[in-house]
Symmetry: D2
Subunit: 346 residues, 4 copies
Amino acid sequence: LNFASDNVTGASAEVLAAIVKANAGTEDSYGADAASARLTEVASRLFGCELAILPVTTGTAANALALSALVPPFGAVYCHETAHVMTDECGAPEFFSGGAKLLALPAPHGKLAPQQLTDAVAFARANGVHHVQPAAVTLSQATEWGTVYTQDEIGRLASTAHRLGLKVHMDGARFANAVARLGCTPAAATWQSGVDVLSLGATKNGALAAEAVVLFDRSLAAELEFRRKRSGHLWSKMRFLSAQLVAYLESDLWLRNARQSNAMAARLADGLATIATARVVEVVEANEVFVALPARVATALRAAGFSFLDWLAPAGASAPVFRLVTSYDTRPADVDSLLTAVRDAA
Amino acid sequence: LNFASDNVTGASAEVLAAIVKANAGTEDSYGADAASARLTEVASRLFGCELAILPVTTGTAANALALSALVPPFGAVYCHETAHVMTDECGAPEFFSGGAKLLALPAPHGKLAPQQLTDAVAFARANGVHHVQPAAVTLSQATEWGTVYTQDEIGRLASTAHRLGLKVHMDGARFANAVARLGCTPAAATWQSGVDVLSLGATKNGALAAEAVVLFDRSLAAELEFRRKRSGHLWSKMRFLSAQLVAYLESDLWLRNARQSNAMAARLADGLATIATARVVEVVEANEVFVALPARVATALRAAGFSFLDWLAPAGASAPVFRLVTSYDTRPADVDSLLTAVRDAA
Amino acid sequence: LNFASDNVTGASAEVLAAIVKANAGTEDSYGADAASARLTEVASRLFGCELAILPVTTGTAANALALSALVPPFGAVYCHETAHVMTDECGAPEFFSGGAKLLALPAPHGKLAPQQLTDAVAFARANGVHHVQPAAVTLSQATEWGTVYTQDEIGRLASTAHRLGLKVHMDGARFANAVARLGCTPAAATWQSGVDVLSLGATKNGALAAEAVVLFDRSLAAELEFRRKRSGHLWSKMRFLSAQLVAYLESDLWLRNARQSNAMAARLADGLATIATARVVEVVEANEVFVALPARVATALRAAGFSFLDWLAPAGASAPVFRLVTSYDTRPADVDSLLTAVRDAA
Amino acid sequence: LNFASDNVTGASAEVLAAIVKANAGTEDSYGADAASARLTEVASRLFGCELAILPVTTGTAANALALSALVPPFGAVYCHETAHVMTDECGAPEFFSGGAKLLALPAPHGKLAPQQLTDAVAFARANGVHHVQPAAVTLSQATEWGTVYTQDEIGRLASTAHRLGLKVHMDGARFANAVARLGCTPAAATWQSGVDVLSLGATKNGALAAEAVVLFDRSLAAELEFRRKRSGHLWSKMRFLSAQLVAYLESDLWLRNARQSNAMAARLADGLATIATARVVEVVEANEVFVALPARVATALRAAGFSFLDWLAPAGASAPVFRLVTSYDTRPADVDSLLTAVRDAA
């Protein structure tokens, strides 16, 4: 059983069916197709506003494109020190932005606090032209530690950012899991709380390979279309990308899948809480569980066929920490079988 | 009927089936899956050599990544003035390479000649550090004018390039059409003739969205893996990209599809040759036909539902020129119906 | 005697004296010094308008910085095929702009014509997002062929450019020579004729190492200050850069020097016109003379101690072409001695 | 009196004299002059090895060029969190390297420790292609906190770095101050201790505007010459840049100046140590003194005409911290007058 990531699963049946259906007939290329037009409608309805949505292949592309439209090459992007853009995208934001600088801030629970922005920007302004120019903040929702910013937390961070002249980007690789947790509308989770641009993830939650840059300020779209093309992310047969997102968003698939993976993570965390040798080290609010386990337990689990990742333990941790990720197709029996194995190994 | 491009069609049934089949079960992500391993085997067998193959989403990505591995940021890439990398990729090669310069050379039939490289490099060397450093040549096969370099032409161009210290890149967006025309092996069409890196196209010829950088010098692979990741082109569910290419390459699908589109272009050109008002302005060796037609004929055809592109007429052309592209699923009846419409309009 | 370039001479006495004078006492760094403040005043008075002026070290830096403020990374810059930015700056504009593309246009006498812009932009617009976005035109004044755009020529080119949505950059590495030729005000030669940004050269005409980006639209200055810093072109002891330009511009030094070098080039051209074996191949309007000479004459001259450059002969030239450049400190006797040597060798 | 920085002073008389002397006659441009040839000789003798030395205008340019030759665009550069490249160069290293990432490490006294490299590289390697590739470490000598790495510290850091596959860059903006402190040879302070590339500063210590990239591995020189040109840092009248460095290095000027500024900083620190309200917060080993002072004292000093910078206080500091920098032309009386003012204000 594979708890290594939510990207080890395939695609939801609805998404595959949409691809097969989209295959019929000829369609104009590069986005001038029916599915792409439909996607804008569906997304606008879902978010309750006019917007521009640019589908791309990967979350790295979505994040890097989004940031490149928000910051100049001499700009600073503030992010959490564990942010995917900081540690796991091989410098994609620097590449797409022409050299902008990501400045990493430490903070508990994977969540930036408004005061951190205020301090960082004050330092930058004091250095004037010698320092990169404060330009944007990016927050991951859900965070890299599987936690979820509350609406209030987003709102306060975004209003501080805007007051400081920063744009607000949300890395929503697990946006559906966050919304499922928050129980609010997608609008409330984003633009109504001050988010300027959203990287909307779908691949980890049921798509085959589909993410999107969602622009609540449509004036950025023209520039981003050029940037998407020159980064090789404009599909010629765009219908196959848009169709995935339509299937994902137009019914409740995105939310249904996210609720399932969140529920399975909660079940897993609840179960681990009853096992003495296991210690869940971070609150579980989405579909990731971070657990400290004796090394011999981890070894035994892997020998038994369970996959999961080593994680960087917080300073002062007494046992190694591992990440367990549930997916839209994780079943209760999968979780229970992992729990049994932990108990047996412990 | 849509003759605008070979990317207005969907995917071949075999490719779709491969995607559906790849969906079963969990697979490690980012290329550590069975289909990706299989792809390297299939491609190595097809090209008759050890190689590295990196699948990506678009031809623009394949070309730009390939060139970025061959040239420094201060390098010069020589290309035909009509090359896709020069006119249709929104500066992707400049972006991926960190600012390398594409130097456009004019030449008949879309084909560069060895002497042009010799002259251009001599000019560069005379300017030393003031000029961008000669680094690579890229040739399109088939060319943007629907012609095909012969093996001998490739060989002479590549050996001149190598003598001058240039690497040789082949933009094979329509590689299958070229090989179908040449009737040689993929090996003879590439590394045996001096090609260092190939952008292998599949999307225009039956894939959903799948291209690949093929490295005949595997030592470049490590660097390219980082470059692919940071450009957002490393799929997490890579199996869906690799599976398309396996289906495309492991049977004769690639060649079968290309033969069909080539045959349809030949049929179209033959038919047009019998119509007085039409004049085919370039030799037809792959799946594109460039034809001069009176403007009123073009208008009538479009009114009748035929799609095709305006093209930049060669200097001195007396009538506007249009591009007609056939596809792997173009049928004889489609061609004949277009021919009839031309005759009727003329 | 060195006719290779106008950069083989040292600096004018006035410029050196200004440097020595600027050395006294402490001054705040990075431009917050008295000479830098004075420079803005002097330049504003000279150009008859409010402006921002950013001194830098080299013409390459001035050009690349200027263009980077005018075009996006996915932009196109139209230039003459012989432009310094195209052939002699090792890709600096591509580097500073983050990958923008210079599109080279051929034209007689080194001068672009308005229709070329219209055609090129039409081609770009027809290709939409696939082509780099038309963004700017750059013209060299004086040109690389030693000719000078008339005020009318600049005006028509600039108004066409603006109508097409392009910004207008002037590479004024030899701006003083051009103004000396035109006999108009610096204002008439630039912003009054539609120039948006000027690279103002001084090094070739008497400075030690000093050029400047002159912004007639001051709103670009804030961005350019960051760009100058991150490209390493913000001197800490900026007084030494500004002081050169003040000395150069505040009296008539710039114009006096340019008149001298122009006059010497005219004297040289006139003399060559009387020698049968020499043929001046381009009109002489500034301080450069392009002359076709039998190879044995060139060899003899070099053996006699004269330095000058080989030049790319225009197509169809029957003899090799050489470039002879005069400088602010070239004396009539220098010219006459060269002419004598030509006569002797011929 | 200006203690804000060592760049508020002018140039040493010897340097100015060298510039004036270099002005005589014509010289080939772009480095083919006598002073540039002489510089390589002088530097080779000083460092006791064959090397390549590329003069540039600013320390930012030297650092960014040096790093761009050591790391790929997808590379990681490890540096201290206070490093000039991290906080004060407006992203120049990211720009020159094409987007490489500077990863900031905290450490006492401004000095990196070998274990930090080991840990950081282990984290990177565990993330494979998703993380930027470990490529180089840069250390500032003297550090941003005015401390000096011992030879042993450099040696251990460099040998760890090399073992991990990292190149070693030294930002020697205040290299002379460090060598003056260490009392060792320039060779021992650099290549003999494992430094691969040195940014050799001169501007802060008596030059007008002159720094250099010193390559102990000359094979990097060819690439760097292209990079210098395309970043606009190749002077046409290079003699004026090289002549400064020759004057600086060929006699003991560099060391004499550094000893003077170091001595003045020591005198200042000693004096402050006797004043109850002042607290020197970092050991003084070069020409910078960091002192905690009551805010009212700082205000009084500034009112009395003393200039100096606010500094970011270490966590837990009870009073604001200020930076006082001495220069090669600071005299004992200057220091004493500052000390008297502090005593009076306290």
